[in-house]
Subunit: 345 residues, 4 copies
């Protein structure tokens, strides 16, 4: 049994880790930390989990926690994770970090988009935790930087075309829409029911911090530096990200050829489903799962291609992918604990 | 008082015409036709309007209706409008047609995307009813082709940049998301609550029939033939279209210059609101109104611009704009009957 | 023109007052106060109202405000209104108070359910602002205590049966469900989108503070002291209250007799609609309006009657009714500013 | 392995059976029948299940199906199940029927509320499939009549008080609210997204067919014939039923005593959770599970008690309970296949 701890367990991604791991057959959920609920039963925070979790929330004590855990998930705001991750690693814990702190390889890029980095020496040791692209690297990494929710959806949609060189990467436009859990559980006017319900809007237009993360991975796939346009939107739903990706083709390709490429590229991947021609992914159809559904369509009138992907932002876009990465780290079947079918209705 | 009739009054756009016109101070709502509810009080179909409408649904009788009406709104499926519009015109009625039948100037284009056209001689007489672009033409037209919902949002967002030549029109990508009323009131699996709720998906990717309509008007603005990519999505809300438009700039422009252009272009327009820099439009904030909110942002990293517009698809995207056109036809103040503030919460 | 001020204009009921009054033909909206947004344009707080309101938020200054206003709406939390209302009255302003501070006639009852009362001498001068029950009293009152949202829906549903003595008042059970605007705009975990969406629950079961308010008015109607059971629920919608009222009949009555009673009792009331037999009210069908829809059904199997009412909690349940009261205070047509048809879809 | 067939597998309850059973470790899902999709892959109907189900839809052939199955779930409209159930039983299949056809013991009651019964001889052989009340009877029954969704929620909430004689059963009022999946997947105007969204209404007030089913079981618990009032409402959510039950206490009981009774009565029940005092159940917190959450509160002011229960209407209210019954029939652990934690956010 893998002994697991979660730092920051009472936010939405922390809760989703608890929800998944409480039923994982090879996991012993050992420590849950929280800033706001120290000493209280975890199910006081999320009564729906009554009967499935009997831990109490603890204050963070890295030394003690490292003794009780083989792996730690850090589900903290960015810049908070880098404060404790180095010590967890020093004490021999493996770490899956769900923050942005270790996703960007270049200190300068991180600091341009986020804040000063206090543990830059770890940037080169962290594996970017998108198993479909970096499985081998993840297996051996002491530290896994779990991808952002938007990059997960966008990169899985774009990777085959980029790897194959079928599109001009400079024409890439990533248009995404996310459910409200993406904003976390903190109190803000913009997350109130009555401010979101029956609405739809873009935010952080062409300035969202997931942009450099996408660019880093796209550039790796292309072998050269690429800049993209990324516009996220806020959907009046709780879970899900739909990404609509636009790019110009470098030569004519029909739908069937493109589907073949995608099926081959993701052949054997347990969590990627390539939809048949003419079928479009829907965020409902992956809800509660670690799946990524992908649909595509070339537009011969304009020589572009449109690729669509749907994920559950809390699962494949965060906590489910983190568990997938943990499974890789410990040599477990990659799908363990992640087999529940979608609650699509 | 203008005597008004509505053909196809029990669908959602018909209902919205009734809702607006029942309170219009210069309108005498004279005839409501329906196929399914002939002889029944209109409020049997929409009990919420009890107290505001006392008409019964009638079967369509063009000759008789033409005598009782100065203007007729045809809210019918495409190809159905062209069956009765010619006779209404012959009998001296003015017509605002909410279908697609008279929007495309070229018979060949209509027939390539829709069906054979049985009244092609009227195509050149119809004014494309987007008042912000074609106000003068509309005033004198016997027949107004009320624009499609998606084209309304997209064209208002794009027009200033296209007219000014600031973007390369061949790079235009129109990404839109609509509420479910856009699908009308007919019974289909895809419109059931449980099939839409908590979902989000694209549909008719790069093959929606509003594409040639946008291209026609964009080409008029540019002075040359242009093809665009258009991808609509279905939102789990009742009303609203958000359009996110991407294009490459032909020269560098900053946000302030761009806002000035938009404010100037739409100066004096009662229904277009240019939002301040950094503010993005939200479909909630125009709900129930004929407003179009526009926000924009240049992306200097990629030399692109993103323009966003929000409309209520049933109002500015259909019935409200039709009433605006009627006001123009009869020399009434353009905002008459359309002044209600948004029900944004 | 009536010069109007709103104290606490940036909460949801304040916003709804602004939305309604900004289009009221006999109102000059003169002063908007706010604690959090002093000095800022009102439309910064609610950008959707851009174009309709050009006031700035002011700090509360009772003396100065009283000079600039004929009537003041106080849209403050309970116990805050009683701090400023006496001075407004002293300075000759009429006041419509949307808080609970002046709804209960008996100081002891108020203090048992709320808090110590600092202006108890006004309790006897305040009219309970439910025009359908107390129209004449309201007209002459210096101070109108605008009813709570739940009592409005429950009392309008129950009044005819109580007044007529057809039910045993001790058997009255009031089961209500409200949209989330009822909780106001303050930041609380329970109002976050993701905590409300797709949920439904009861709250403050048999201990909600609107209970004594209902009991006071029910007792007045019966001529004796009555206690009821009241259970409110939270709906995942923005607006609306549906009340389902249960009571035992004192003698057999059929549906038709009951409908006749209700039609007679509310005859001439512009905002009450008695639905035909077999039709049930829906909160959607009164959205954005001051209407109260009522449906009813006797259950001869159990000798009970079920009465249902639907209101928009922000309009008839708060700000719309406040404007109706203001119209009464100033001898204006009662429906002025309140004629918009429902945005029911 | 139990060989399982589902008759009527493409409606919502059929789909939910497939969703649950496709992951049940002791089930071999053998036959899925459908009227509308014969010959098509099941995942054409519900693409979200791609990867989890590889059966095709078949036309119903009872003889052949009986050979291939040990147990058959009939998920058909009422009166359709009674057409095929007798033959399944004759051929040695055990049957869990999700329709209303075998729930009522008395032919006359069934015929008064539904339609003529063509297999009345089976009524006495069918076990009413509420395991918490009738576990032993179910184990040995050839035919299990799976309870209606509303009765499940109401009976679990009421049973302890009725069994103990703490309430006057004649005062029982059952007020329920259900998500839209309760209406099934058939095309009807009232199930369209835009007709349900942002709405709330009662329907079939005091005349819903689940009334006699509740009365039958309540009468069994009381040992005498009882009539109740039942009013269902339609919630704008996909899943969930909240039941709010009102009754008069026969003697004074405080909350703690009542909680003790409930904890004792449901002690050892894997799917019933008694919430702590002051906590109310929420349909979100049981979503996707076979759980029933119960909360309660005495109202000493009126001598009544309010009991609240939340279930997922498709799981504990239909398909999950059917699987629980199947587990009982085959001596499997009762929770097998039903352990997934709720998708409460």
């Amino acid at each position: 049994m893998v002994r697991v701890g979660i730092v920051g367990s009472t936010g939405y991604t922390g809760m989703e880790l608890v929800r998944i791991l409480s039923r994982h057959p090879e996991v012993d959920l050992a420590v849950l930390t929280s800033e706001s609920y120290v000493g209280r039963p975890y199910v006081d925070v999320y009564p729906a989990l009554q009967g499935g979790v009997d831990l109490h929330c603890e204050a963070l004590d890295v030394a003690q926690m490292a003794r009780r855990c083989d792996v730690v998930f850090t589900a903290l705001p960015h810049t908070k994770a880098m404060e404790c991750v180095p010590e967890f690693l020093d004490r021999g814990c493996r770490v899956v970090d769900l923050s942005a702190d270790f996703r960007l390889r270049q200190k300068e890029v991180f600091e341009a988009w986020y804040a000063p980095h206090t543990a830059p020496e770890l940037l080169s040791q962290a594996a970017y935790g998108l198993p479909e692209l970096h499985r081998d690297e993840i297996r051996d990494a002491p530290l896994v930087a779990n991808p952002g929710c938007y990059p997960t959806g966008a990169l899985l949609a774009a990777a085959p075309l980029l790897a194959e060189g079928w599109i001009d990467p400079d024409t890439l436009i990533v248009n995404s829409a996310s459910g409200v859990t993406g904003a976390g559980r903190s109190l803000s006017l913009g997350s109130l029911f009555c401010e979101v319900n029956e609405g739809f809007r873009a935010y952080k237009v062409a300035e969202h911090r997931h942009t450099p993360e996408m660019e880093q991975e796209i550039s790796r796939l292309c072998g050269r530096s690429v800049r993209i346009t990324f516009v996220p939107h806020l959907l009046p739903v709780s879970r899900g990200i739909l990404t609509t990706l636009y790019a110009t083709l470098v030569h004519e390709v029909n739908e069937e050829e493109m589907l073949r490429l995608y099926r081959r590229y993701y052949s054997g991947e347990p969590f990627v489903r390539i939809l048949p021609g003419g079928v479009t992914p829907n965020i409902r159809e992956v809800r509660g799962t670690n799946l990524c559904d992908i649909g595509l369509r070339p537009d011969p009138r304009t020589n572009r291609v449109i690729v669509l992907s749907a994920i559950d932002n809390l699962v494949k876009g965060a906590s489910g992918q983190a568990v997938q990465n943990m499974n890789l780290l410990f040599g477990l079947p990659e799908t363990l604990g992640l087999e529940t079918p979608p609650l699509f209705i």
